[in-house]
């Protein structure tokens, strides 16, 4: 991958303390975490070009991952079309992942690949824009 912008103004992109187990019908069957944009301004969700979650190196299937902003939970494929949903950089979004059995108690590595277009920084014409890397990787401990 070539050059990508990254403006890590805040200390954390993935809020490590926010990582928690997700329960389905009272059983641990997934995990959730909050994420803040690594840039000085917000973006429409339609600027998101790539969003992938990896738990201990294993890629989570796209349909098991959702993106939630202001109480609106969306499947990933809809982000392309979400050009009225504006994600402010001071407002964390929640990523929810369904995973059978969840993450076992103990230490884990969690990685978010998150790439966006910076929609006003054109690199020549024809829909090519400066990429923004807002991904992060953290080591976490599940209680």
């Amino acid at each position: 991958m070539g050059f990508a912008m990254r403006m890590k103004l805040n200390d954390e992109i993935i809020n490590a303390k926010s990582v928690r187990s997700m329960y389905i019908n009272g059983e641990k069957n997934g995990f959730e975490f909050d994420v803040q944009l690594a840039y000085y301004r917000g973006h429409y969700l339609s600027d998101i070009e790539l969003l992938e979650v990896y738990a201990d190196g294993e890629k989570m299937p796209a349909e098991s991952v959702t993106f939630e902003l202001r109480g609106k939970e969306m499947p990933l494929y809809k982000l392309n079309y979400a050009m009225t949903e504006f994600w402010s950089q001071v407002e964390p979004a929640t990523i929810r992942v369904i995973k059978k059995g969840g993450l076992a108690a103990g230490k884990h590595s969690l990685e978010l690949k998150l790439m966006l277009r910076i929609p006003y920084m054109a690199l020549g014409g024809d829909h090519t824009y400066m990429p923004l890397d807002s991904g992060d990787a953290v080591d976490i401990e599940i209680a």
């Binding site: 050059f3 103004l9 805040n10 000085y40 301004r41 917000g42 014409g125 829909h127």
Partner: protein
Amino acid sequence: MSDIKLGATLFCYGTEYARKQYDFEECVKQAALAGATGYEIVGTQMLPSYPNVSDEFLGLVNDLKVKYGIGPVGYGANNDRGMRWDRDLNDDEMLADAVIDLKAANKLGCKVMRSQYMLSPAAFERLAPYAKLYDVKVGIEIHNPATPGSPVMKEYLEVIKRTGSRHLGFIPDFGCFSIAPNKPHWIKALKAGVEEKHLQMAADMRYQGIAIEEAQKKLMEAGAHPAINTALQGMYGFVQFRPKSALPGLLEELKEILPYCFEMHGKFHYLDEDCVEPSIPYKEILDVLKESDFDGYIISEYEDELYCGGTEFTKRHIAMEKELLGY
């Protein structure tokens, strides 16, 4: 006779804001403490209900105006041509979004809106009647590497002159008058392990107008640390600079568009305690403004590439301007 007012964009405090050390109120308070008599708000950065202004947020803005004595005077719009996943927005769509921006500016009470060159000259022209209705003056930002005399800016100038609209104009960003390397980029390169002699060599080649590819090759041959490439990209990109001998010509370009300027963006990247911007010749620029009929704000804009926050630097910047303007 000029009437130069001093303001600040709350973007100066973008680092503190993103880290939640400052909320919106604290940004306004700090701008007032720095000596600003009005502020610019960047919609995509600080409007909680972007692209709209909610009644609740307007209430906060008005309360803070009473509390700290300053309110919004400029609205920083973004023209996100690339917001669609599948193609660029067309002129009709860019125009429609710019009308929404006008509504936000107007509701906040801003008389000036800063737009970017992504809004084409044709769409800019079609915005004029709406700008008149809302009584918001729309200025195209002239940002380094563009200068007031760049071909694309001449296209906007042609629109401004042809329509005769008093609501279409420019907002020059002083970064386009840079005549020396950007200090934070220099500091960051040194920290990354680049030797100062190689940075100086890069700057000299930039002054001489040597192409970036050749400069890169020569630096590698001279054994420069690869981290110099980031600094080099800057020198040929958004923080590029010209030889000091080019300054009179650049200031002539400024004079030509001054009758159409609604606001200035007082860009700065670094200010020591002696309050001298290392790359942007403030004295020469402000001398031009003083002797003109410019009536409007210089909006201080600190670009925090060192991630150290803008509180102290913004105070220094306004102090520097006061000193140079004799306020």
